[in-house]
């Protein structure tokens, strides 16, 4: 895990890239003027806002991050179809449940990404991260964290936990190297 970027003037390289792309998309043009303005904003905004932010782990494996993004997008599409079928089927067949997934991740940022992917993928919505943030000392990082998720149709708890850990958590661990 690394918190500091290589260059001082570019504290969050991928956020800069995102800002650059978002600016061009917002203006819907790739004229020289807009590219220049986007580049200036992409450098100035992270520099100006960085002192206010809590340091987050940086993406260390961009290629893997991209591949993971594609996997998640694919899963979102299948998730939509699966949930649509579950919703249209009879209610009686559904057995909802709460499942606690033990996490290997410890930092907030990767856990946030994991919780969001879990919410967007088949039949699961993340509900809570344990232990409670309020029960911790200031700046204390707990050793073991749990993600509480609500499952629309719980059939095999063990298999579900295994899928989440292997399919979504393991790549995140790789990407952030933590």
């Amino acid at each position: 895990m690394r918190l500091e970027a290589k260059f001082k003037w570019l504290p969050t390289p991928y956020m800069s890239l995102l800002l650059f792309i978002v600016w061009l998309l917002l203006n819907n043009s790739v004229s020289t003027g807009h590219i220049l303005l986007a580049a200036v904003l992409a450098i100035v905004i992270p520099l100006a806002t960085n002192p206010f932010k809590v340091k987050q782990p940086l993406i260390l494996k961009p290629g893997l991050a991209f591949r993971h993004l594609m996997l998640v997008l694919y899963d979102i599409i299948t998730a939509n179809i699966q949930v649509a079928i579950l919703i249209l089927g009879p209610n009686k067949k559904l057995t909802p449940g709460f499942v606690k997934v033990p996490l290997d991740l410890t930092h907030n940022m990767p856990i946030t990404i994991l919780a969001s992917t879990v919410s967007l993928t088949p039949g699961t919505v993340s509900a809570e991260v344990y232990p409670w943030q309020e029960s911790l000392e200031e700046g204390e990082i707990p050793e073991q964290r749990f993600l509480l998720i609500h499952v629309l149709n719980l059939t095999d708890e063990e298999a579900l936990i295994k899928t989440i850990k292997q399919r979504y958590e393991a790549p995140l661990k790789e990407i952030f190297q933590c």
């Binding site: 819907n28 559904l94 057995t95 909802p96 449940g97 967007l120 993340s126 809570e128 509480l148």
Partner: protein, 110 residues
């Protein structure tokens, strides 16, 4: 040809959003209701926006890619709103239907 693609995309999008809303009405408890709108609608919106993208790219000069941004923001905000709602539901100890498994996994908050 282009019209066909746009129409099919609009229909798919409409269907998914309809299914999401049906889920909202049909499910027996709050936690299960949450699943429809968070998932079924993201793909629904994505196909509607793709339809908009195809339409504006073909009828107006130049490529229109703003819609990608809208889908991106939707994908970012949908899980967060779901998370906030389910968090407050747990805080208020909202009842879930009886056959819900693993209720003891919920810890009391401080």
């Amino acid at each position: 040809m282009i019209e066909w693609i746009i129409s099919i995309l609009l229909l798919i999008g409409g269907c998914f959003i309809l299914v999401g809303s049906i889920g909202l009405v049909k499910m027996p408890d709050f936690f299960m209701r949450l699943h429809g709108p968070t998932k079924a609608t993201t793909l629904g919106m994505a196909s509607l926006l793709t339809a908009a993208m195809v339409f504006f790219s073909t009828t107006q000069a130049g490529l229109s890619a703003k819609e990608i941004l809208i889908s991106l923001f939707l994908l970012l905000t949908a899980p967060i709103s779901a998370y906030m709602m389910i968090k407050s539901a747990i805080h208020h100890k909202l009842a879930s239907i009886e056959r819900t498994k693993g209720k003891d996994n919920i810890e009391d908050d401080v």
